[in-house]
């Protein structure tokens, strides 16, 4: 168990302790305020260089990370690798070494292969590596911002702040994760994050979209999606990963929607106050009905907004933590 990400990497939420997660959430609390200022900038990472390397297309995660880095006053090197040397057969080690030679403190990277961020962390042990999504493995900051968002909403309901209400707000919470769990790095990070905070996690998916050996996961599997909706305090929907061949795992999108889409009719089964999450981008009309996506209990926009303070917290802890250790 890792008890703090201070001065290290963030590669996976699997194996991250509750304390480590709470530390990130609390540092993020302090950055929320920065984002409300007219001048949205603190000098925490002034003079530091953060390389953002996305081997896979992304707009929202990349924008969110780069915004976070800039608000910490870091210099951002943004490299579009998806269309460059990698396509010419350059090895991961060479790509990273080239970027490292420019002088960097952190790498934020997304890659289509599971484990790529961990591999890179071995090539550049002196640099903090922050995983922005690796294949079907992990998307740690998504898991963190999901936990952060739910904690924030629950704290508001209790009339406290997240810090006062603490992480205990998530204990025994019923979290239902629905959809293409098999191919989802978000599901793997959410299961780890909510699990670490003491929540009950249940999975609902067509049988073919459940992961292999699901019995080994720290979550149970819903027998009946409709019943599970009545059980849930939080419903996390996932996009069907068509680019990973998910299309072949269900007979048709129509049938997927019929069996596992959060239609308007199904949404009526939800408990009052149950929250709906989605990591985006949404396929409206497939996994989620358009009206449901815009309902008051949908926290999709708050997830996006919270992405920035969470990523600021992660960058700050990983990079500034390094400096304090070196001094």
């Amino acid at each position: 168990m890792t008890s703090s990400i201070r001065g290290t990497n963030l590669l996976s939420l699997d194996g991250l302790s509750r304390d480590a997660i709470v530390e990130i959430l609390e540092v993020a609390d302090s950055f929320v305020e920065v984002n409300r200022r007219t001048i949205k900038k603190v000098p925490a990472l002034k003079g530091r260089v953060v390389a953002s390397i996305f081997f896979e297309e992304s707009t929202r995660t990349r924008l969110s990370f780069e915004t976070a880095a800039k608000r910490l006053s870091a210099d951002v090197l943004s490299l579009a690798v998806a269309s460059s040397s990698v396509k010419k057969g350059e090895s991961l080690r060479d790509t990273i070494s080239t970027i490292d030679a420019l002088g960097i403190d952190a790498v934020v990277m997304r890659h289509g292969s599971s484990g790529a961020a961990l591999q890179v962390s071995r090539y550049v042990p002196h640099v903090s590596v922050i995983n922005a999504g690796d294949g079907q493995h992990q998307h740690p900051t998504q898991g963190l911002l999901d936990v952060y968002t739910i904690r924030e909403v629950l704290a508001e309901r209790h009339g406290t702040t997240g810090r006062e209400g603490g992480a205990d707000l998530l204990r025994d919470l019923h979290v239902l994760i629905v959809g293409d769990i098999r191919h989802s790095r978000v599901a793997r990070s959410d299961v780890a994050a909510f699990g670490a905070m003491g929540a009950h996690v249940r999975l609902a998916a067509p049988g073919s979209l459940l992961p292999d050996d699901v019995a080994s996961w720290p979550a149970d599997v819903a027998n009946d999606f409709d019943e599970a909706l009545e059980w849930a305090d939080v419903v996390g929907l996932l996009r069907l990963q068509k680019e990973r061949g998910s299309g072949a795992y269900v007979p048709s999108l129509r049938e997927f929607t019929r069996t596992h889409g959060l239609t308007a009719e199904r949404a009526r089964r939800l408990r009052p106050g149950a929250l709906i999450m989605h990591p985006g981008p949404m396929n409206r009309g497939v996994e989620i009905d358009s009206r449901v996506a815009d309902q008051a209990n949908s926290v999709v926009e708050r997830q996006v907004a919270n992405g920035v303070p969470i990523r600021m917290a992660v960058l700050y802890l990983c990079v500034a933590g390094l400096a304090s250790g070196a001094e």
Partner: protein, 438 residues
């Protein structure tokens, strides 16, 4: 002047007996075996004190990578690695570029092999281009001495093609070797399928992909009366299937690799492609079942599946990196470990590494392979002098930078092992002495 070699002070490991004896070699053959023989003048003495003296190892599963577009290793360097590892004969796999699917290509590899101190035999492809569609000219290749055929790297997927190949091969007196993985079930997978692959988000290669192919080919062997050799089996259930097939009297043989009896899937946790191999490293329980099968005779032979890969290709992400690892130079030490170290029965050790593989690949002197010497001998007077002198008490640390292949993709870097090849005598010549090439 021919050099007379005297292997002195060792313990000769025959198929039944293990007894102290000196071995005299002259003109490529064993000319005397006995205790405390007089050393004739003008003899070169090879010190074998504390060592086992047995038939040189035979690897029926070596990737020598020649010819290929991007040669990361060669027959010459592969043979050097083999000699260091105690091997006197290597069977080159046909998954080269182009595939060894014609008499001309087989002749080319045999010719390059003949320039090495070892015997290099060739396994021909079963199907043209290893595409699994139409039969390669097996009879023409058999005429050059090819006795083992395989599309290794992949299985012959289509059962009707495999059936046809078995019936065609039968009167040729050759054996078909199968890479047992149903690619339609294992396809796209990078490691063993299970809780770990699920957690790591890596696509798995299920044990069933292997076992289905073993089941299918057992039934095809029954149907055709053909001879099937199962390559690099990895699962506990495959061992059970093998026992059941033997009980039916079918002509099936099987190998396991040294890595599948010494490494398990947990090594994939760090996403280091050095541990990527097909079939994949399996569970601890599978490793234990394979070790039992090594001891009880269910498994006939240990092969290396020696597979050089360039460093850059092993620096790719886990799912993109090519499968395969080096084996020739440290297989014997690992087999010694898997057989129980100090409890290792030397007869079983030499059965697995030499006698059984020589029988499977028809490389014994009685098989009279074209242009090659006899392997897997009983170490008797008159046998071709292919011998290894193995020190079962020597401890050493495997070092990837000290290997003789052109690549360094060993998963055992810095592992401490016991048992080292002190000397290799191939075709009557001392090619390795004190663990170094002469």
């Amino acid at each position: 002047m021919t050099t007379r070699l005297v292997v002195r002070g060792g313990v000769v490991v025959g198929p039944k007996t293990v007894a102290p004896a000196d071995v005299v070699i002259e003109g490529g053959r064993i000319t005397a075996v006995g205790e405390n023989l007089d050393v004739p003048s003008r003899s070169r003495v090879v010190d074998a004190s504390g060592c086992w003296v047995g038939p040189g190892f035979v690897d029926i599963h070596t990737h020598l990578r020649e010819p290929s577009v991007n040669e990361c290793d060669t027959i010459e360097s592969g043979a050097r690695a083999g000699a260091i590892g105690g091997y006197c004969a290597l069977v080159a796999m046909p998954n080269t570029e182009p595939a060894l699917d014609s008499a001309a290509l087989v002749a080319y590899v045999l010719q390059l092999g003949a320039r090495t101190p070892l015997d290099v035999a060739v396994a021909g492809a079963i199907t043209k281009g290893r595409l699994g569609e139409s039969l390669a000219p097996m009879a023409e290749m058999a005429a050059l001495g090819v006795r083992l055929f395989t599309d290794d790297g992949r299985a012959v997927d289509d059962p009707s093609v495999m059936r046809r190949a078995l019936t065609y091969a039968k009167p040729l007196g050759v054996r078909l070797a199968q890479h047992c993985e149903d690619e339609r079930l294992a396809g796209g997978g990078a490691m063993n399928e299970g809780a770990l692959s699920s957690r790591l988000g890596l696509v798995g290669r299920p044990a069933l992909a292997e076992e289905l192919m073993v089941m299918r080919d057992i039934e095809l062997a029954a149907l055709t009366g053909g001879s099937v050799h199962f390559m690099h089996l990895t699962t506990a259930r495959s061992m059970d299937l093998l026992r059941a097939a033997r009980a039916r009297g079918l002509d099936v043989t099987a190998e396991v690799t040294a890595h599948h009896v010494t490494l398990d899937e947990s090594l994939c946790e760090g996403f280091d492609p050095i541990y990527k191999v097909h079939p994949p490293l399996r569970t601890v329980a599978d490793v234990a079942a394979l070790r039992r099968a090594l001891v009880d005779g269910t498994v006939d032979a240990v092969a290396t599946d020696h597979a050089p890969h360039s460093p850059e290709s092993k620096d790719l992400p886990f799912d993109e990196a090519p499968p395969g690892m080096l084996g020739l130079e440290h297989a014997a030490a690992l087999v010694y470990e898997a057989l129980g170290g100090g409890d290792c029965d030397p007869r079983r050790f030499f059965d697995l590494l030499s006698r059984a593989p020589a029988r499977i690949a028809q490389l014994r002197s009685s098989d009279q392979p074209v242009g090659l010497s006899g392997h897997g001998s009983d170490v008797l007077v008159g046998d071709d002098a292919n011998l290894v002198i193995f020190d079962p008490s020597s401890q050493w640390r495997i070092n990837r930078d000290a290997l003789h292949s052109r690549t360094a993709n060993t998963p055992y870097h810095e592992r401490l092992v016991i048992g080292r090849v002190r000397a290799t005598i191939a075709k009557g010549h001392l090619v390795v002495e004190d663990g170094e090439l002469t």
